[in-house]
């Protein structure tokens, strides 16, 4: 179809839509169910919440009003169970331009530029319908970024699946990966990093956390604060359909036997529309005629309208007869709650709406004036000339209920933390290493990320597969480094230590590339917060995260909480996921042409081990993946040691002293050495003063570096100055990985080991 033909068809569709508007109004008047306590409960409102709503209105709400209030007060939109705790997180810092509360956090990255980024969960929809669930997760997070005026330049995804052999798991993995790929690839934003983990605690609730980052000039950031009474409110993008209604409330419940039936609550994405919406929006922003803008995400027109008014301290009047509809006959209730994708709500300057509209039409998109900003703080919604909702904005948004849920540690906590036995490796150290490297957890994730376009936009200096991704910032000598991390087993054993470890590991990963962190965004995935043990996990995790952020000087600039990641067991209980506070951190690389790689790059390079082992196995991959034991205290998080190590790694990178820097994490030194060999197929010969399973100990604040022989003395001297224990352990080269310990000497050919590691994941999944 030619552009002109496409335009003609849209115009014809517009007339049809106009014809259907009167019908919508007529239906509104006719068949709205009467509201009572029962209906309120079915909408997820508690008895007290319903009372509070009636009190606010001085009457019973209409059906449409009930739908709106229930969506705004859902856990997903209101953060009612987490808000009190989240206040503990440090959100200020020298680089922070916009902290939490906007569509994305914004940090200054120098050269007059800012980075806008956020991570968000799409767990519930992805479990019900993996392809569309994951795809629309990517779509939503991209809109959160470009709604700030930033052009998206990178995506990451943190994925947690169950046991590969669990029912539906192969289907879920395939659908999620295809969904992320098809959406991001089409929009043309590279997916440069992320993580993929497997653990049976996700058998009934997978996690799909999508991250996006965009770049803008600092003086051209947009926010979502509706201001200026009389300014027109414009609706741009896809038409409104019946998809996704109750998505926000669905994401605020645990799964039961009927979760398959929730499929219609999952939205359907169209990445092509997203791409043109992105281009049109960035062009429209350059007109100077836009006051505020927000995408219609969870709870659609309801949340975007109310949140913009709430932030601006204003009200809104919305005329639903003017909302472009996909089909006739949608009720006001449906229009207000639809989660149809690829839609934006815009406040334009009075008298200048045509300048904005022209940009959207140029890209073949519909744009309609559907209301205006009002003074007085009320949201008034009309259909067919009749008021269908008249609600106070503040009390329904900023004034939403806040709960501090009763919390207590899980009853079996002491048992979980009992020091574990650490058996000798079955099949020797070499056998254990081979086995670890071929588990889905530690195997190469290339099968996943090669389905994502990670080279489009030509900024990807280091793509997926390393400790962090590194992107060039064209027009500057700088780069950006991105990573996301969390170890859910550590968090299950000790949520505070686990969350702190996630922050520390992310900072360490950035440091290997020479990057200084400027901010992080978190996605806090937990079970049902009404269960005291879950509320305790959440509170502990926030406490640990806050402490680590403060110690490492990294502010939290945006984030998302996903509760109710649990599935009813049919006996009145529920199976919860392991607590999973995902951390996505962003750092600035001062000199993009001096980025060490995560793998060995040159034979003859000397290998130096930084940090000291304390023989820690609690929650380790060694015990979990080889012996099925999840027990003990996770590795101690020494934030001062982490801080010193990160500083040293940055100094080594900046001075061009190290060619390789790779952090030690899951699987310890043994796995880190093997990974470093795989990147370029180079072997290594090292000698380490340790015995038995200590090769797989997961003591934190450690890293491997490799340098040219002439740089060795400098590396050791810089380490000493930084107060980081350092020891030369060997040399890069040959076709074998040789690890001499006190006892066994591991001797493995790199190529077959690499091939086994590279193919283990698709093999485990049967692809």
């Amino acid at each position: 179809m030619s552009g002109a033909a496409a335009g003609a068809e849209r115009a014809a569709g517009s007339r049809a839509a106009a014809g259907s508007r009167a019908a919508a109004g007529a239906r509104a008047a006719a068949a709205e169910p009467a509201v009572d306590r029962e209906l309120a409960r079915a909408h997820g409102l508690s008895e007290e919440e319903y009372e509070k709503l009636c009190g606010l209105l001085g009457r019973a709400p209409s059906f449409t009003e009930l739908g709106i209030a229930a969506a705004l007060w859902s856990e997903h939109c209101s953060y009612k169970s987490s808000r009190a705790d989240l206040k503990e997180l440090p959100t200020a810092g020298p680089h922070v331009v916009h902290g939490p509360g906007e569509n994305a956090g914004v940090v200054d990255i120098g050269f007059g530029l800012v980075a806008a980024f956020k991570i968000e969960s799409h767990n519930h929809p992805s479990f019900i319908e993996p392809y569309q669930g994951a795809a629309t997760g990517v779509g939503g997070i991209l809109r959160d970024v470009f709604t700030m005026g930033a052009r998206p330049i990178a995506c990451m995804d943190s994925l947690r699946f169950g046991d590969p052999r669990a029912p539906r798991m192969r289907y879920l993995v395939d659908g999620v990966v295809r969904g992320i790929g098809d959406y991001g690839n089409c929009v043309g934003i590279p997916t440069v990093g992320g993580e993929t983990g497997f653990h049976p605690s996700y058998d009934g609730n997978i996690l799909v956390n999508a991250f996006a980052l965009g770049i803008a000039r600092r003086d051209r950031i947009f926010t979502a604060r509706a201001s200026g009474a009389g300014n027109p409110i414009l609706y741009a993008g896809s038409r409104t359909g019946r998809d996704g209604i109750h998505g926000a409330t669905m994401a605020s419940e645990a799964f039961g036997a009927e979760s398959e039936q929730k499929r219609p609550t999952v939205q359907v994405g169209d990445p092509f529309t997203e791409k043109v919406l992105l281009e049109a929006t960035l062009e429209a922003m350059r007109t100077g005629a836009i006051v505020a803008i927000q995408d219609m995400g969870a709870a659609g027109l309801t949340s975007s309208g109310f949140e913009m008014a709430s932030r601006g301290g204003t009200g809104v009047r919305l005329d639903l007869d003017r909302v472009p509809l996909r089909e006739p006959g949608l009720t006001p209730y449906e229009i207000m709650l639809s989660e149809s994708q690829e839609r934006m709500l815009i406040v334009a300057r009075r008298g200048r709406q045509e300048e904005v509209a022209r940009m959207y039409r140029r890209w073949g998109l519909e744009i309609e004036r559907i209301g205006e900003v009002t003074a007085g703080g009320r949201a008034v919604v009309t259909a067919a000339g009749r008021v269908v909702a008249d609600l106070p904005v503040g009390p329904l948004t900023a004034g939403a209920p806040v709960y501090r849920r009763p919390a207590e540690p899980p009853a079996d906590l002491a048992a979980r933390r009992r020091p574990p036995e650490v058996p000798a490796p079955p099949g020797g150290l070499a056998g254990a290493l081979e086995k670890l490297l071929t588990t889905p957890e530690l195997a190469s994730k290339e099968w996943v990320w090669r389905q994502y376009d990670h080279t489009v936009r030509t900024n990807t200096v280091v793509g997926p597969g390393g400790d962090c991704a590194v992107l060039a910032l064209k027009g500057t000598p700088q780069g950006l480094a991105l990573t996301c991390d969390v170890n859910p087993v550590y968090c299950w054993l000790d949520p505070a230590a686990g969350a702190a470890q996630a922050v520390a590991e992310a900072a360490r990963n950035l440091a290997t590339a020479g990057a200084e962190p400027v901010g992080l965004t978190d996605c806090l995935n937990f079970g049902n917060p009404e269960v005291p043990a879950v509320a305790w996990q959440f509170r502990e995790a926030v406490r640990g995260m806050a402490a680590a952020c403060a110690a490492l000087g990294v502010p939290v600039v945006s984030g998302n909480v996903s509760f109710y990641n649990e599935t009813a067991d049919g006996a009145g209980g529920g199976r919860q996921i392991h607590p999973t506070p995902t951390v996505a951190m962003v750092g600035v690389v001062p000199e993009i042409d001096r980025v060490p790689r995560s793998h060995f790059t040159a034979a003859g390079d000397r290998i130096v081990l930084l940090g000291e082992d304390r023989g820690e196995f609690g929650g380790s991959a060694y015990l979990r993946l080889l012996f099925g034991v999840e027990q003990g205290m996770p590795p101690r998080v020494d934030l001062e040691a982490e801080s010193r190590l990160a500083e040293l790694l940055r100094v080594l990178a900046y001075n061009g002293a190290a060619r390789t820097a790779h952090d030690l994490s899951t699987g310890g030194l043994g796995v880190a050495l093997a990974e470093a060999c795989f990147g370029a197929g180079l072997g290594a010969r090292v000698e380490v003063p340790l015995a038995g399973p200590a090769l797989f100990s997961e003591t934190q604040a450690r890293a491997l570096v490799a340098c040219a022989p002439g740089q060795l003395a400098r590396v050791l001297r810089l380490a000493e100055t930084s107060g980081v224990p350092a020891r030369e352990i060997g040399e890069v080269g040959g076709a074998e990985l040789v690890i001499a310990t006190d006892g066994e000497t591991v001797r493995l050919d790199v190529e077959p080991l690499r091939a086994a590691w590279a193919t283990a994941l698709p093999r485990a999944l049967g692809f």
Binding site: A4, A5, N185, F272, K275, E279, D453, T458, V461, K474
Partner: protein, 236 residues
């Protein structure tokens, strides 16, 4: 050299190609809008990668009917240079400016990775920066790059020397294990009989700067620019 990069709704490598031509090679470069028939006097027209019109129906099928394509066709018929990369290649196939068609990748999945290519024709305006038989590395990123045609048509293509690039092993040998998408006869790029239209699935614009650790693609653009300068020089 005056270069034009076509922007379809859904193009997403337009800025990348523009960057190489404008900033790396410092050529006069403009974006060309899909709805216009004006090529703004471009000597080289590039159809970039992406998902033009969402690739609805088939990759490139709708884009082939866009107004700008009428002008691109006239430009090609007049001997002007047209380069189609990835989705741009698919559009050239759908527009009939190059022979053949694309099927989905052999493994039915999107594939983003580096491939090895052998330069089969080093005498085209686009490939003069390479030696015949030279093996280069470039990234691919597509789900429909499985080139196909009838055996007779493929024979004709081969005998007319229209196969410009093939997927090969790092040593330059034909080997199905190194054919990433199942393309017939490992074809990665084809040209028209006249040699002024080239379509290829790999992305030379993604490997044209030192910073990206691979500059194998730069010679394609630099060679095209040099060839055009040479042609102008000869005409004078």
């Amino acid at each position: 050299m005056r270069c034009g990069v076509v922007v379809f709704p859904g193009s997403n490598c337009d800025h990348d190609v523009y960057h190489v031509l404008k900033h790396v090679l410092e050529q006069e470069t403009a974006f060309l809008w899909h709805g216009d028939e004006d090529l703004r006097a471009s000597e080289l027209v590039v159809l970039p990668g992406g998902f033009a019109y969402g690739d609805y129906l088939r990759g490139g099928a709708l884009a082939a009917l866009a107004p700008v394509m009428a002008a691109v066709r006239r430009h090609a018929e007049a001997g002007g240079l047209v380069l189609g990369i990835c989705n741009g290649f698919q559009i050239l196939l759908e527009a009939g400016l190059l022979p053949g068609a694309m099927r989905r990748n052999r493994e039915l999945r999107f594939l983003c990775r580096d491939v090895w290519l052998r330069i089969e024709r080093a005498d085209l305006p686009f490939t003069r920066g390479y030696r015949a038989g030279q093996v280069v590395r470039m990234p691919i990123a597509h789900s429909e790059g499985n080139y196909e045609d009838t055996p007779q048509a493929l024979d004709a293509l081969e005998s007319a020397g229209q196969v410009a690039l093939r997927y090969v092993s790092p040593a330059g040998e034909l080997d199905e294990a190194w054919n990433p998408n199942g393309s017939a006869r490992a074809i990665a790029g084809v040209t028209n009989r006249r040699g002024n239209v080239l379509g290829l699935m790999p992305h030379p614009e993604r490997c044209a700067e030192e910073l990206l650790s691979n500059t194998d693609g730069l010679a394609l653009f630099a060679g095209t620019v040099a060839a055009a300068a040479g042609a102008v020089g000869a005409a004078r």
